[in-house]
Amino acid sequence: MNKLKSINYSYYLGIFLVTFILFLCIFGPIMAPHSLNVTLETQYQDGKVLAPPLEPFENKDYLLGTDRWGYDLLSMILFGIRYTVFIALAVTVIKMAGGTLIGLYAGTMKKTPSMITAFEKAWSYIPLFLILYFFLMPISVNSVLGSDTLVAYFIIIASIISIPSVASSVRLKTIEVNKSIYIEAAKTLGAKRNRLIWKHIFPQLKESLLVMFILEVVYVITIMGQLALMNIFVGGTIMRFDPTIYLSVTKELAGLVGQAQGNIYGNVHILYVPLAVLLLTTISFSLLANGLKNKFQSDYQRTPWIKTGHDPRIMPTRKRYGSQSWKNVTLNKIVFGILILLFAAGGAYVYMKKDADPGVEQGKQLNGEAMAERFEKEELSYTVHIGEKNLVGDEWVS
């Protein structure tokens, strides 16, 4: 029982979910059942009317339903999720790299200039999404710029404006580590600043930087969501008049949520479906961050002398020196191995299935030439049942 309690669930669940999300990002468009331009046309099927907006789980061709113009929600999500995750990752990589560099060097200064702290505090006061909002509002709606350009602008601006906050927290952590006795010792032995930073301070911060990285991914997605609520979609907004509606160009998840926000009054599934996927994305990254934090905390914390409500229940893992070889098979390695295998196998399967003949899409017609070709190959056949009588010549025949 105790052993079950001490498993780091959020760590494993987080890794699994993040892998799944990444899989969707890479292979999503291949897996999408419909293209982004095909709409469900109103039609009869088994005596029932199929008309957009279709509710989720009603029709197996449109698993997550359609929006009110008949576009398949699942396909839109599969096409859009890579934008959300990859943009978030790109922003985070740039800002973490910049922020860490600045923070490390600013934190090892002998005296921090008061300008830096004043600027940090001033900057942290204004919500970042507001700055982005003012930047993107003039260029994003019905823009003549391509969506790639807009995405690039978003990545650059978002990473630049969030560097100060990352730099500030790295700086504070650096100052904390810089007070340690082993830094004193290294200085006494003649270590210069660069060596201190990269050989002594940075290795100490590696783990908290990793947790911070994943949390910042979530934060960027949050900012994208907040902008989407204001109808600023990453990659451009299409604004249609009469009635005024806003559409996302790239179909990224936050944009899908934003463009469906009016659906809170009716056809709520158009809002719920992308919202649920967005939630899944952020939750998987937060779970991973939480799991890593639990792991590091249980590994490195000192036990308090008084009772607290937050004791980690996870057993610390201790490094055993001399046994660090890849040959040592542990349960963790087996689980990760299986996960990687699944990822590769799934990818290969999806990739091979990609060119499988989709046949005739529902509600569509083949043009004459293609039809003739396939009759020739005997891929298509037909049987005719005639129940009614037809007039042939002067006679009614059945």
Binding site: S114, M115, T117, A118, F119, K121, A122, W123, S124, Y125, I126, P127, L128, F129, L130, I131, F134, F135, M137, P138, I139, S143, V144, L145, G146, T149, Y153, V218, I221, T222, G225, Q226, L229, M230, Q261, I264, V268, L275, L278, L279, T282, I283, S286, L287, N290, Q301, R302, T303, P304, W305, I306, K307, T308, G309, H310, D311
Partner: protein, 287 residues
Amino acid sequence: MWRVVQQIIIILLLIIFLASLPMMIMVDPDSQSIKLDVQQLPEVYGQFFTNLMEGSLGTYQLGYQERSIAQDISDNFFTSLSIMLIGVNAAIVTSIVFGIFISRFKITRVFGVILNILATIPDFIIILLSMILAVNFYKMTGIRIISMRPEAGALNLWFPIILAGFAPTVYLFKLIAVKYYQTGGEDYIRTAVAKGMKLNYINFQHVFKNIEPFIAAELIKVISLGIGNLFIIEYILNVPGITKFIFQSAEIQPIAVGLICMLIISLLVFLSVKLVFFLFKRGFIYE
């Protein structure tokens, strides 16, 4: 003191720069690139300041009508102020009480788990979900717990207050929990325990005193979290607050006035939290 003045000057410059952004950035259709139109800036700023000198705050767009800012500013200001004041103070008190003083009880564990689960959901999704929930609650029971009508008074306000206090609570509680755990391992706590002092006494006289500087250092971050959410909350829940000036307008006047009001609000909230700390220390802790 000089540092505070320096900060305020930087923030004011930042606000004026931000407010002029929508007028400055343009897309050049020929070269398909972004152009910064800096030439008209002196004129824009000049007009802004002459307007202020004349005692006029300008106008803003509300739906299709243009209204004078001066007429609406006091109501909107106090609405936003009350949301922030109550929300942030409640957040700080809750997280300190749960994080330090009743940290050892089982209830904190439950509270922590709930907050941890909620913390994995981005704030704006929580705001959206809670609204959906409130609407469904009304549909099922017929009891109206929130109202989107701007003039609905308390019915329109209590929900935004809770939502505004939510993000600061999550952030601060996590921070305090970690700090409490770390402080618990210090030697002076060991000494206090060895002397046979009661846990409550240790919490007040040893732990709180040592955690307070960290909370004070994070106060600006906490308030800015609240402010950031306030924008979304007022926008979604249709609260007639200060953010009404900022969205829907591309002029420098309403944006700058709105952001400066925000600055004043966060200063007031900051001072009120300091006051609460001061009173608390006077009442319970030997200085």
